[in-house]
Symmetry: C2
Subunit: 226 residues, 2 copies
């Protein structure tokens, strides 16, 4: 029994099912972001900062994927965001059968966008289509600028690369080179923009928030909730 072959079948089946989520979203004109990253890269903080930047301009809800905790959905609710928690009970990624019922718990027609915070993992989430309009990934500076070489699929499937914790670039111990990262990224994913941000200092967040808000508006220009 080869886990790669079995996984390939499951990935393919999942891909076929993703259209169910796309139909659901198109029906309610709701934009879906699949946010992926390593553990601790700053997914939760980025979502909270985006929500703060958007305020009432983007009606947002969050689906939180976690293996075994409710920590992040509690943080979202504390910030006033509608949040649904998925606990995967061990699974290393989210898939359509997990995301669809979570979306159905939300009042999609009243929402401009839903951000799904995927499991912290640079491998498996990249393989599972969850019907998102935007696949966003965060790489954090402390992880190093060589991660593209090691986790190429994630960097090649994402539509936007967010580089978080850029305040760490100024440390004496830093050996992360943003230019080197950009060069490597351009070779495997030439069309996706890169947004350097710091959820600590706030740097770069207005630009990122503005860009995603434009993507949301471009997808559903006549959405009634706005």
């Amino acid at each position: 029994m080869d886990i790669l072959d079995i996984k390939e079948d499951i990935i393919e089946e999942n891909r076929r099912e993703a259209h169910v989520i796309r139909n659901l979203l198109e029906g309610s004109e709701t934009y879906l972001v699949n946010l992926m990253a390593s553990p601790g890269a700053g997914k939760t903080s980025t979502i909270l900062k985006l929500a703060e930047a958007w305020g009432d301009n983007v009606s947002l809800a969050v689906v939180e994927g976690d293996i075994d905790s409710m920590v992040d959905s509690h943080k979202m609710k504390a910030a006033g965001l509608p949040a649904v928690q998925i606990t995967t009970g061990g699974a290393c990624h989210l898939d359509v059968p997990m995301v669809k019922p979570a979306l159905e718990l939300l009042d999609l027609s009243a929402l401009d966008a839903v951000i799904v915070e995927n499991i912290g993992n640079l491998v498996c989430p990249a393989e599972f289509d969850i019907g998102a309009d935007l696949s966003a990934m965060i790489l954090s500076v402390p992880e190093g600028d060589d991660k593209i070489l090691k986790y190429p699929l994630m960097f090649s499937v994402c539509d936007v690369l967010i580089v978080n914790k850029i305040d760490f670039l100024a440390l004496p111990s830093n050996n992360f080179d943003l230019d080197r990262l950009q060069g490597r990224f351009a070779r495997i994913n030439p069309h996706a923009p890169i947004f350097p941000i710091s959820t600590y200092s706030g740097e770069g967040l207005p630009e990122l928030a503005h860009w995603i808000a434009n993507e949301i508006r471009a997808a559903y220009p006549s959405k009634k909730s706005r």
Copy 2:
């Protein structure tokens, strides 16, 4: 088709096969360390620093697991360490069928220890027994002290927790609390020691190197290569 059920079968099959690796290691009196962590937590740097601290006292080789690159095994060879590269071609963890042939490429009888650098992932590697004497995990300070809540299996299966990048604790942006981490860890894994280190400043590395060397000697006190 439920990926969790299939995965459980594969994990169980792998567990049964792990004894083949244990027999191989016991025959040659070689100690095996399974080193696991998130991407960019400092697995490669920690191995290089341990090798430096041990010098000729521990005869070491490295098995490098990567999805799709040879970066780390090149670093190991540049440091004078025998290294075998496993490229998993997409798989998110190492398993017995990958590790066994890699070990067979090494002259095990001449080695005190082999460190396997697993795929950067806090989920899947925790589930796969590769016959190691010591399961070691690294958590890096920038990832946050709440990762135990989110990836409990990894923190509960490890025999030692290495907390890397403790030089970051002094930053104004730091909100990682080592005491809080220790409290959380003690609740799910009361017997495993914690070693705070910095591969940048070198702090804590002598203590970690000393402790692992003692574990190696305790497992095979009469190994002829020493």
